[in-house]
């Protein structure tokens, strides 16, 4: 018997005999002859396990792993080996979303723990069980604000990640929501520009920190200003930065969202990542997706349940502000293990490592003859520099030396992400390479 083909020829003959059918073809006699495939499919001959492994080894060896200087929403962070080891346990990895959720207490427990972590990180009272990614979480927060205020206009910072803006606009276009972009001043959202449009017609305002250019934004004055007009303040945050900087609670935020990739999720080509969303009790019933609650069972023992579920999503679908009915469960487990490994002190330490490495690299790069600074504001682990050198040449030189270059954010501007994974030697070598590039 073959591993992946569970029936042997004699199994098949026995089954045919017991149902009284001559052969397999007779079993499908209702299918017209004219649509039968008569040609052989060209997929090559079967390979043995050994041959197959060799085949994929050849393919895998074509990959080249570089030192990654790309950021823009996805960052090269260290993944503690305990995470994949635990997450790969079949109880977690192969269990599908439980349709009778309370039977899977283990799944509900880790989702509850995930929510507790997100609440603690953001300072906000309630977290949902997670969403698809940071961009959809931000768009869902916009829908929440529009639903809660019954308004259909939202202000967003122009310094949001362009991918976030794309997803927000896609969602908005199907709900007839008007999206207004707030101008920037020196790379950050202009409060003056916002105050001009904050006229009581806005459902909310969305700020990102660190923003797309890596700069820290203080959303406090925006949340205070929108509150006066009964709108909601929404902030998209990098959760890894929250060990160091003001939490959404401290900024007076109503809804905090973000992508959990920076919490130890490997850089995949598009994922899987995870979106998180937290709010206070006022908007708890407007949260999209699932929420796990802690309760007591009939014997008085602690038990976990899906809560706040008797809602629009199931019985008044046409009234729903969101159609999200599930979550990104395995990645919720992933980031929970990451945060559990770090602990409070670890989160601060890793934040500081990112901060110090990035600032070390920044200072060295802007002191090079062909490079200069662009912004004055504080940043976390990502920064923009300006250069009169060709960006293409920079990319080529770095690639040749084992680095994947940064993001081009303008014709003469490039953005580098420097995480805790970059050693001093790697940074020094990078600076040396950049310093050696001449005009063509």
């Amino acid at each position: 018997m073959h591993k992946y083909l569970p029936q042997t020829e004699s199994d098949i003959q026995n089954m045919l005999k017991s149902i009284g059918v001559k052969d397999i073809k007779a079993l499908f006699k209702d299918v017209p002859e004219s649509i039968y495939l008569t040609k052989e499919i060209k997929i090559g001959k079967p390979l043995s396990e050994d041959e197959l492994f060799k085949h994929f080894e050849v393919l895998a060896n074509k990959n080249k792993t570089n030192i990654c200087l790309l950021g823009g929403g996805v960052y090269d962070h260290y993944v503690p080996s305990v995470i994949p080891a635990l997450v790969a346990r079949q109880e977690f990895l192969t269990s599908y979303t439980p349709y009778q959720p309370e039977i899977s207490q283990g799944t509900l427990q880790y989702i509850f723990e995930y929510q507790s972590f997100i609440s603690e990180l953001t300072g906000l009272e309630v977290s949902n069980a997670s969403l698809y990614d940071g961009a959809t979480a931000t768009a869902e927060a916009m829908l929440l604000a529009c639903g809660a205020t019954r308004k259909d206009k939202i202000a967003i910072s122009s310094a949001l990640n362009p991918r976030l803006i794309d997803v927000i606009k896609t969602y908005a276009s199907k709900r007839n929501i008007k999206v207004i972009e707030i101008e920037l001043i020196k790379g950050r959202t202009s409060l003056k520009a916002f105050n001009k449009i904050n006229d009581g017609s806005l459902a909310g305002v969305i700020i990102q920190t660190p923003n797309y250019f890596g700069l820290l934004e203080d959303a406090t004055p925006f949340s205070a200003a929108i509150k006066e007009n009964k709108g909601l303040s929404i902030v998209a945050v990098n959760p890894l930065s929250l060990g160091l900087f003001k939490s959404p609670l401290e900024m007076g935020i109503d809804v905090a969202v973000g992508d959990g990739q920076s919490l130890g999720i490997p850089m995949g080509f598009g994922g899987p990542y995870i979106g998180f969303m937290a709010t206070n009790k006022t908007y708890m019933r407007k949260l999209p997706g699932r929420i796990v609650g802690s309760s007591l069972d009939s014997e008085g023992k602690r038990a976990f349940v899906l809560t706040l579920q008797a809602r629009e999503q199931h019985i008044r679908r046409e009234k729903a502000t969101s159609n999200i009915c599930s979550n990104e469960s395995l990645m919720a487990l992933w980031v929970s293990i990451y945060l559990a490994c770090l602990g409070n002190k670890g989160l601060v330490d890793i934040g500081n490592l990112n901060l110090e490495n990035a600032h070390y690299a920044y200072k060295k790069i802007i002191s090079l003859p062909h490079f200069k600074k662009v912004y004055d504001a504080d940043f976390f682990n990502e920064f923009v520099v300006e250069t009169d050198l060709s960006l293409k040449t920079i990319d080529r030189v770095l690639l040749k030396n084992g680095y994947t270059s940064g993001i081009h954010v303008g014709p003469h501007q490039i953005m580098f992400a420097i995480t805790e994974r970059r050693s001093q030697a790697e940074i020094d070598h990078l600076v040396e390479l950049l310093g050696g590039i001449k005009h063509v």
Partner: protein, 125 residues
């Protein structure tokens, strides 16, 4: 089925108790019985205005969720905050526990509503 004389009613099972140019609005006995144990009342923001027939609140019970419609156009001037912690008050006495107080915009709209007798015909069907 308890129906109180002197109140006005809607076909969608709301009652309205008019007091000058203000009024209290709540759910009828028929509505609370059919919904079962009410676990949440989504109260509207004070100061918001709604048109006649527009949904201004929603109630959730253990077996259903339902919109609550405003019988006449008006502005919310107060909500029954006791329902936030004890939504079941609507089950125990639906006529003593209004959902919202409104300022009536157009008293003429009251003429379109049902009186107790007319409503009884619908509720007892």
């Amino acid at each position: 089925m308890k129906i109180i004389e002197g109140l006005k009613y809607t076909k969608t099972h709301e009652w309205i108790k008019v007091n000058g140019n203000e009024a209290e609005v709540g759910l009828t006995d028929y509505a609370q019985q059919h919904l079962g144990a009410i676990v949440f009342v989504d109260l509207p923001p004070v100061g918001d205005s709604f048109k006649k027939g527009e949904e201004f609140s929603a109630v959730e019970s253990t077996k259903a969720a339902s919109d609550v419609y405003l019988p006449v156009s008006g502005e919310i001037i107060a909500v029954n905050e006791a329902l936030e912690d004890e939504p079941g008050l609507i089950n125990s006495d639906c006529y003593a526990n209004y959902i919202a107080k409104i300022k009536i915009n157009n008293p003429k709209e009251l003429d379109d509503l049902l009186d107790a007798k007319q409503y009884a015909l619908i509720a007892n069907k």
